[in-house]
């Protein structure tokens, strides 16, 4: 559905944010994973018509997202990483306004739509409250509600769960999952691996403006099958083990450290036991080493 070809963007400061990114995204949830500063937001902004790429193109359902900005905006729902809302308007007034801007002029239909959206994001009880008094989670939900107006075919959500409490986060995931149907592409940009793992049928990992891998989460885990090892060791041994093995993550607790390493051929040492691979393992390996065991496997 969405084809991105060779998108390149260099900012006036000289920072090359995107280095010729190409992706094919089909309907459903697509996770874009990457560390801070990887170029996720730049890519999202370009797809959302807010930024002009230096080179490359993006096309969806016959619409050129770079050239035909008005056409793109007709099918777009966008929730940026950072946003604000008019503090003096109520939640209901805000949604009515955005619905009008998206071309929903029939008063009755618009009323029904706003009611349904408020209900869907669980803000029906606060519909008359000014947005200026909303908490972060409520604002985020109102943000996604405005993005859902007008049956968008391309929904872009940039780091949506940052700052949300666990309950809000799950509710937000549910909303996104229900929105992604057969006709819509939902691009979820995040650095939280669990978000992608629990939501997305497709994903890509981006680092320093380049796509390191585009894969389904299940495939990513399958690639690490029988390659992940885990050991709980005293903290003092961490340095030695890190120098000896390709450690993908280490977590400290008490006086101990739990290390996870990738070894495709043999058990690293006696301390290590086999561990079930997780998407984090794939992500950390890819981001830290620039490749995965799958690529190096003979």
């Amino acid at each position: 559905m969405l084809n991105i070809k060779d998108l390149t963007k260099t900012y006036p400061s000289g920072v090359q944010a995107l280095k010729g990114i190409s992706l094919d995204v089909s309907a459903g949830m697509f996770g874009l994973l990457g560390p801070n500063g990887a170029g996720k937001t730049t890519l999202m902004k370009i797809l959302a018509t807010l930024l002009e790429p230096d080179r490359g193109g993006a096309e969806m359902n016959g619409i050129d997202l770079i050239k035909d900005k008005h056409g793109t905006r007709r099918m777009l729902g966008y929730l940026p990483q950072e946003f604000g809302l008019y503090p003096t308007l109520t939640a209901e007034q805000t949604l009515h306004y955005f619905a009008k801007l998206k071309g929903v002029f029939d008063k009755k239909e618009r009323g029904m739509l706003v009611d349904a959206l408020l209900d869907r994001v669980n803000l029906a009880g606060e519909r008359g409250q000014r947005v200026g008094g909303f908490s972060g989670g409520m604002r985020q939900r109102l943000g996604i509600a405005q993005a859902l107006i007008g049956q968008p075919q391309l929904i872009i959500v940039d780091e949506p769960t940052a700052g949300l409490d666990p309950e809000e986060r799950i509710r937000f995931h549910n909303l996104l999952a229900e929105t992604a149907g057969e006709d819509a592409v939902v691009i979820l940009s995040t650095h939280i691996v669990a978000d992608v793992s629990s939501l997305c049928s497709q994903m890509a990992v981006i680092r320093q403006g380049a796509i390191l891998g585009s894969i389904t989460p299940q495939q990513a885990i399958d690639r690490l099958k029988d390659s992940v090892w885990e050991a709980t060791v005293p903290r003092e041994q961490v340095g030695t083990l890190k120098s000896r093995y390709p450690v993908i993550s280490s977590q400290m607790f008490g006086g101990l450290a739990r290390l996870r390493v990738i070894s495709r051929t043999e058990r690293p040492s006696e301390e290590f036991v086999p561990a079930a691979p997780a998407l984090e393992d794939y992500y950390f390996d890819l981001v830290n080493h620039g490749t995965t065991v799958a690529e190096t496997r003979p």
Binding site: A48, R73, R74, F83, E109, R120, E178
Partner: protein, 609 residues
């Protein structure tokens, strides 16, 4: 012994100086002060009168006028927002979580910014000091002086500005709203002039000098202007007991102002905000939803690992076992997470036809106007504008050339023009930059709305505001006319003057402001450019260089007799300027930052964003 340079007060003080050194405003204040000095030196009262530009009387004599011209506005820009910036940048929790007392914080902020302001203002005296060695034909210069410049600067300028700066700082800090300070700053001139004319002038000289914050009356005692050049050049300014009492009074005023601030200042969130936050209870058992107990001895890395990947079907299948969706997890028994959500209804959308654009424009104007009405500064500015425009017709004798209604309308229209300029510049700036400041721009710019709708909604809402003010002043003028029994009411006179002068002027000023904001992309830069341009134009008009080609509001270019005799020429002027205004709007559309097509909009290398 405590080193004063290693205290928390000093840290905050120097941090403010550092922050100000990275802002544009202090440099503008410094440049304007230096430019002001240049004008006083080369083209001031000493020119052609054999008065020495470095005589003690000249050095001290120009300072009260320097204090009055522009400086209250420039001080407002620096002193209004030192603490507001902290709250806006949300750095306040980081500061207030340190062992910093309120006094250290407030005094450090105040004196850090006041020091910056004084340094910038000192450019006036420093420039005069340097100009002692610059030769100019016909200019009398005495032997070079050194101490007189800083001494008089501190006595006249620094102490005069202490209470005003404290007032701005106090209001800005307590309201956390710079716009209220700006509104008060704009009101300083009419208030000071009224205070000087109505109150100080009627007092005996001693009391007048004692209560004059800028010491203009104290200087007049010496009758400097009536003195011959020889005597003037020999005058030495000695601070008498009245001067010293006046200065002590100013310092006491400052102390009172800062004490009030100290007593009322709170570092906590505003109560209204807190109340709203506590109104909604988002989660009753949030921690139970996501993680198991994970004390160190119970550490289970499986919990911390990611959940299994989801299939395209949605979240619920992927959540177990790590994410609990059990309704019993919630104290109130409701299952907010896994509940069924209603489907969104199908709606018809209209985006292509002209009617759609008109509907969107109407919706956008309604919101923009509502947001403009919510501007808190309007509470001060609008009543003040109406009051000052009506002051003369309400309390003084009206001289009627043609008719009383014409005199009423002309009088209020001339006063209102000044406010229209200020309000057009200020509120257009607010409307044009509001979306970016509150970060709603990404939402608006990704909706299928044309740029013309976005620009015109801001233009028309501001215009509506200005026209509402014009109508209010007109209605109030008619009411006063009736109350004062200055009948009959000639509505045609009002219609002609307001319809030909004020309403088109508002249109033209707003259109120019829209273009200025689009091109500069920085409202403060536009404010500075506007103030500079307006000052230069009014200087030209008052010095006799007045022509409709560079006078869009036709200030002092008409009388009611002209309008009564025939409106053809005025109409022609208006049409030319209205065409210019429409061109401005077209250019604003062309240069607008949001793009409709690839490479459609022109780049702006001079834009300040």
């Amino acid at each position: 012994m405590i080193n004063p340079f290693q205290t928390r007060f000093a840290a905050i003080f120097w941090n403010e100086v550092l922050l100000n050194s990275k802002r544009v405003a202090p440099y503008i204040v410094a440049a304007l002060s230096a430019g002001n000095a240049l004008l006083w030196w080369g083209w001031g009262p000493a020119t052609g009168r054999n008065m020495a530009t470095n005589s003690d009387a000249f050095i001290a004599g120009v300072l009260p006028f320097f204090c009055f011209l522009f400086q209250p506005l420039l001080a407002m820009i620096i002193m209004a927002d030192p603490t507001v910036r902290d709250f806006r940048a949300e750095i306040n929790p980081l500061i207030f979580s340190k062992p910093v007392s309120r006094a250290e914080y407030l005094l450090g902020k105040f004196f850090g910014n006041f020091f910056t302001l004084s340094c910038c203002q000192f450019m006036f005296s420093a420039t005069l000091f340097v100009l002692q060695w610059v030769p100019k034909h016909g200019m009398v210069v005495q032997e070079a002086k050194f101490l007189a410049y800083p001494k008089h600067f501190v006595a006249y300028v620094v102490i005069s500005y202490l209470p005003l700066a404290a007032f701005y700082f106090t209001v800005g800090t307590l309201t956390r709203n710079v716009k209220i300070v700006y509104g008060l700053g704009l009101a300083i001139y009419p208030l000071f002039i009224s205070y000087a004319l109505v109150f100080l002038k009627r007092l005996p000289w001693r009391w007048g000098a004692l209560l004059d914050p800028l010491l203009i009356n104290w200087g007049n005692r010496n009758e400097i202007h009536a003195t011959s050049a020889e005597v003037f050049n020999q005058l030495v300014i000695v601070y008498d007991s009245i001067f010293i009492a006046n200065r002590i009074g100013m310092i006491l005023l400052t102390a009172i102002c800062l004490t009030i601030l100290y007593l009322l200042f709170t570092t906590a969130e505003r109560s209204e905000k807190a109340a709203k936050f506590t109104f909604i209870s988002l989660s009753s058992a949030a921690e139970g939803v996501y993680y198991q107990d994970s004390s160190p001895d119970q550490f289970d890395p499986a919990v911390m690992r990611s959940v299994p990947p989801a299939s395209a079907g949605g979240l619920k299948r992927a959540l177990s076992p790590e994410l609990s969706l059990d309704p019993s997890a919630y104290a109130d028994g409701t299952d907010l997470i896994s509940r069924e959500v209603p489907a969104l209804p199908e709606v018809a959308r209209l985006n292509e036809v002209i009617r759609a654009n008109v509907n969107k424009l109407v919706a956008a104007i309604a919101i923009e106007f509502r947001l403009l009405r919510a501007e808190r500064s309007l509470v001060v500015v609008a009543p003040l504008a109406i009051f000052l425009c009506l002051l003369e017709v309400a309390f003084y004798n009206i001289h009627a050339d043609v008719s009383l209604s014409a005199a009423y309308a002309s009088n209020t229209a001339t006063s209102l023009l000044i406010f229209l300029i200020g309000m057009a510049v200020f509120y257009t700036g607010e409307a044009m930059h509001r979306d970016r400041e509150i970060r709603i721009e990404p939402f608006l710019w990704t909706t299928p709305v044309s740029n013309s709708v976005l620009i015109l909604s801001k233009f028309l809402s501001t215009l509506l505001l200005l026209w509402a003010l014009i109508v209010s002043v007109g209605v109030a003028a008619v009411a006063i006319q009736i109350i004062r029994h200055h009948t009959p009411i000639d509505l045609v006179a009002y219609g002609k003057i307001y319809g030909l002068i004020l309403l088109p002027s508002a249109f033209i000023l707003t259109a120019i402001s829209v273009l200025g904001n689009v091109v500069l992309r920085n409202k403060y830069a536009f404010y500075v450019v506007s103030i500079g341009t307006a000052a230069a134009l009014f200087y030209l008009y008052s010095s006799g260089h007045n022509h409709w080609l560079y006078n869009p509001v036709l200030y002092r270019l008409w009388t009611y007799a002209d309008l009564a005799a025939g409106t053809r020429m005025i109409l022609l002027y208006r049409l030319c300027w209205l065409a210019f205004a429409v061109t401005c709007l077209a250019l604003a559309h062309l240069f607008f930052e949001r793009r409709s097509r690839r490479k459609a909009n022109l780049p702006l290398p001079f834009a300040l964003r």
